[in-house]
Symmetry: C2
Subunit: 217 residues, 2 copies
């Protein structure tokens, strides 16, 4: 089982590293990081970089492909090289997946047409632009496409992926191995649960810092 | 608020990236990745690397220091340069923290003597070697030292750190920003909760692949 994680400049690191940690814990499973051009890809905050050993030109198949989010995936929405690559990879995958706004890139590649899908809650409605039906769930499966909600949801998605492809015992072993027994300090992890003033505060900070989100308001 | 995350060859990426994503989301907070020598540090699986922009020789203070886990931190347990650095940084921190087996490195630096602390469940008892009292909790605070359990627990720890230093509203906003509303597929994230045969399976795979863990059995 070989998973290709597409990374790029200004990605959100946890979107990629959450699922990577889960998938690479399965004995015999391989994960590789692939970027438009190989080499270090700076994260959105700029504090570090994740290294891609291979460029998209060097990888033509994968059992699973995963696209993370981050402001750096906006330019990919009309990058024909990347979108063609995704379509080519998708033709041979067992599962095609995304975390956070990675689903918008799958959408731009035409892979979500007529499908139920999710994304980071701030961007979920934009899935309609690609013919998808936005769903307010943490992990959404439609055929072989699995999309996950914002940032941290990739851990839940990847564990479900392991359950699906390798069985519940292995998924439980991986969950125990990464000691995933979450204790979030607040019940504030989704816009349905967080206090309204917190939701509005996050929405307005996001709109200010993200021109693309601001434009849709 | 400046956090220094110590990274190294063969680290467990999620140990570092979980807290990084939380702490870098706080407006005005800065995170930097520091390694014994600057440059890319391969993760334990080898699939990618995290880049440290600075070496320990270039960083002499931080408000928060965080040490992640991974098999690559074993050589640090008797690396005087790293241990001296940690003691020096700790002298000026507001909080000194670890995720997973990072607590063993804090212990080796003498920073856990007489303190309650935690680690990945497989390694927790080894904290006694450093004069600490192991505690089976996800996040353990004792004075200014906060230690977290295995791998994924760094997210919970970092959110508590934000609550402590910046208040509950900001912590909730960050939790909502990274959409941390976990839905683990199984209730198997700790040895107390997972089925016994799963615990034994993980324990024996770990002992086989980790000479250091095997030696203590």
């Amino acid at each position: 089982m070989r998973t290709a994680i597409l990374i790029f400049e200004k990605l959100t690191a946890l979107d990629a590293i959450g699922p990577y940690e889960v998938l690479s814990a399965v004995p015999g499973w391989e994960v590789e990081f692939v970027a438009p051009e190989p080499g270090p890809q700076r994260t959105d905050s700029g504090a570090t970089a994740l290294v891609a050993d291979r460029g998209i030109g060097e990888v033509s198949t994968a059992d699973v492909v995963l696209v993370p989010g981050g402001e750096g995936n906006r330019p990919l929405l009309d990058d024909d090289d990347v979108l063609d690559w995704l379509r080519q990879i998708d033709a041979g995958t067992r599962l095609t997946t995304s975390v956070c706004t990675g689903s918008l890139v799958l959408g731009a590649a035409g892979l979500l047409r007529g499908k139920r899908a999710t994304s980071h809650w701030l961007f979920r409605e934009q899935l309609r632009d690609f013919g998808a039906t936005p769903v307010a769930e943490r992990v959404v499966e439609d055929g072989k496409v699995i999309t996950a909600a914002g940032v941290s949801s990739g851990i839940d998605m990847a564990l479900r992926l392991v359950e699906k492809l390798a069985g519940p015992e292995l998924a439980q072993a991986v969950q125990l191995g990464i000691e995933y027994d979450p204790e979030p300090p607040f019940d504030a992890g989704s816009p349905e649960k967080a206090p309204e003033e917190i939701v509005e505060a996050v929405r307005s900070v996001a709109a200010e810092s993200d021109a693309w989100l601001g434009a849709q308001r």
